[in-house]
């Protein structure tokens, strides 16, 4: 085991390999306040990468209704309870949020790597505490989803799908959690592979399974706490999200040679997703890049938080937590930064309102933004706080400095006339 620094935990931790970081890291921010659970992202990935024989059960991108659903079933509940069993009552945080090296304070509990040192599974010692989901757990990815059973147009009150199931609705809060591989800085899948078939690319940090080396032992599947590697029976190898690497490299003809956001990001109709490449320091923390939208959201505004940071893999997917969800649940899922993040998102300042406009505006990746100040539209008090709205203009630039986005905070809405609803 090596000692590596995990900035999300604010401390060093044990990891089977020495730390090595890419020049730029694949990262994304999802605004969960906006996800409508439409699964367009899921289908965009499926129709691009996993439509072949043996991949039927694979959803590299999935969206689950929390706290009910999970793909595979109960993945997070199981992981949390394994960690709790290994360290009863000790999975806690303390310390004060500090700088970019410990923005959420310090995690006092055990990561999946640390817990594995004292946990021997039926098959022997593990490199990361985990479990292998059963085939049943991978099946029916939308079990426990919310279940609309509406009426056909013009027939209010009648169930449209009379032959379909009319299952019970959830009666309390829920939200949609969109997920894909986090292209972690300390991937558990990579740590666990006995064949060294998994590697992290030095140019963009995308984590890939070398299909030539993989022998399908499924150690990655057992170790990944997010359960984002999947087994393919037809090739007897494991597969996972490839981060749409041809697009990230700028090889998709649509991008005109500059890096594009992945298929699942670009297809998001809810405009909840913003993906990019962030610069890294030699110690794995993010290099200050004040005008990069992801740097701003994660390290300046601190509205976007890692998913289950306590697992210890340093995931590179960040989430703006849904503000109506009870805080204890959110703190467990996104760590101690939740209260400040919800507070800031619910009372957005001038810069945050402008940066949020960059989501979903262009399929090319944004590397830098600029704000041109506009007039004050009004001043008011919202929930007892002073609130000012400025109609600023936000401009986003691609990898080569091309202007890819220019929009305003008070963005005009154009409604396509009904006779042209489907024309482009």
């Amino acid at each position: 085991m090596s000692k590596v620094y995990n900035w999300q935990l604010g401390r060093e931790m044990e990891y089977p390999y020495d730390a090595a970081f890419p020049d730029r890291q694949f990262a994304f921010v999802f605004n969960l306040n906006r996800c409508i659970g439409c699964q367009s992202c899921t289908m965009a990935c499926k129709s691009t990468w996993t439509f072949s024989k043996g991949q039927e059960h694979m959803w590299w991108n999935n969206v689950e209704t929390k706290p009910y659903g999970g793909y595979p079933h109960h993945w997070d509940v199981k992981l949390l309870s394994l960690l709790e069993q290994s360290n009863p009552g000790g999975q806690t945080w303390n310390g004060q949020p500090a700088d970019v090296k410990a923005p959420y304070g310090q995690f006092k509990g055990r990561t999946v790597f640390e817990a594995a040192t004292t946990h021997i599974s039926p098959e022997g010692a593990q490199r990361a505490l985990g479990y292998l989901p059963t085939d049943e757990e991978w099946a029916s990815p939308n079990r426990f989803e919310d279940n609309p059973s509406g009426s056909e147009k013009g027939h209010r009150g009648q169930l449209a799908f009379s032959s379909g199931a009319n299952t019970p609705q959830h009666k309390t809060w829920f939200f949609y959690l969109a997920r894909l591989c986090n292209h972690c800085s300390y991937p558990a899948c990579l740590a666990a592979c006995p064949r060294n078939a998994i590697y992290k690319r030095p140019e963009d940090g995308i984590v890939l399974v070398d299909q030539e080396r993989c022998r399908g032992y499924r150690k990655c599947m057992e170790a990944c706490p997010y359960k984002k590697t999947l087994y393919r029976g037809t090739t007897r190898t494991s597969e996972k999200c490839i981060g749409c690497f041809p697009r990230v490299e700028g090889r998709d003809p649509d991008g005109g040679g500059i890096p594009m956001q992945t298929r699942c990001m670009a297809a998001c109709v809810g405009h909840i997703r913003l993906q990019g490449l962030v610069q890294m320091n030699a110690d794995g923390s993010w290099k200050e890049d004040r005008q990069h939208p992801l740097y701003y959201l994660v390290h300046v505004a601190k509205v976007a938080l890692p998913l289950y940071p306590q697992f210890g893999t340093e995931p590179n997917g960040y989430y703006i937590p849904p503000r109506w969800v009870p805080r204890p649940y959110l703190r467990q899922m996104f760590g101690p930064g939740v209260d400040a993040a919800v507070e800031r998102y619910s009372n957005p300042d001038r810069e945050l309102l402008a940066v949020l406009q960059l989501f979903g505006k262009d399929a090319r990746m944004c590397f830098r933004y600029e704000i041109k100040e506009g007039p004050k539209v009004f001043e008011n008090s919202i929930r007892g706080r002073k609130f000012e709205l400025f109609d600023d203009t936000v401009i986003g630039y691609g990898a080569d400095g091309t202007k890819i986005i220019e929009t305003k905070v008070e963005e005009p809405l154009h409604v396509r006339p009904s006779q042209h609803a489907n024309s482009i």
Binding site: I36, S163, W173, Y329, F387
Partner: protein
Amino acid sequence: MPKNESDPEDPLELNGVALLTNEDTHGEMVVCFTEEFMRLGYNASKILALFRDPFYIGPSMVTQEKGEAFVHDIISETFKAWNRECDLTPPQQPQAEDLVP
């Protein structure tokens, strides 16, 4: 084939789900959805339509649980706080056929 009996061996069978909390967050849900859609450019009546539509389970659940007047009031207050014109007329009693169970 449709069936009425529960089969515990069926992987597609729904299981009981323990609720972690019954905290009432309906009000905050309405504020959040209203602000998000308002910032996307929807007017108040379009937003209210979402809360009436059974295909939008989250919003329509609030309407079913709390009644339309509750939703209507929060939408109006939110538009007022954001200094936007609210095109809603005073709340009406929901029609039974508007609320599909």
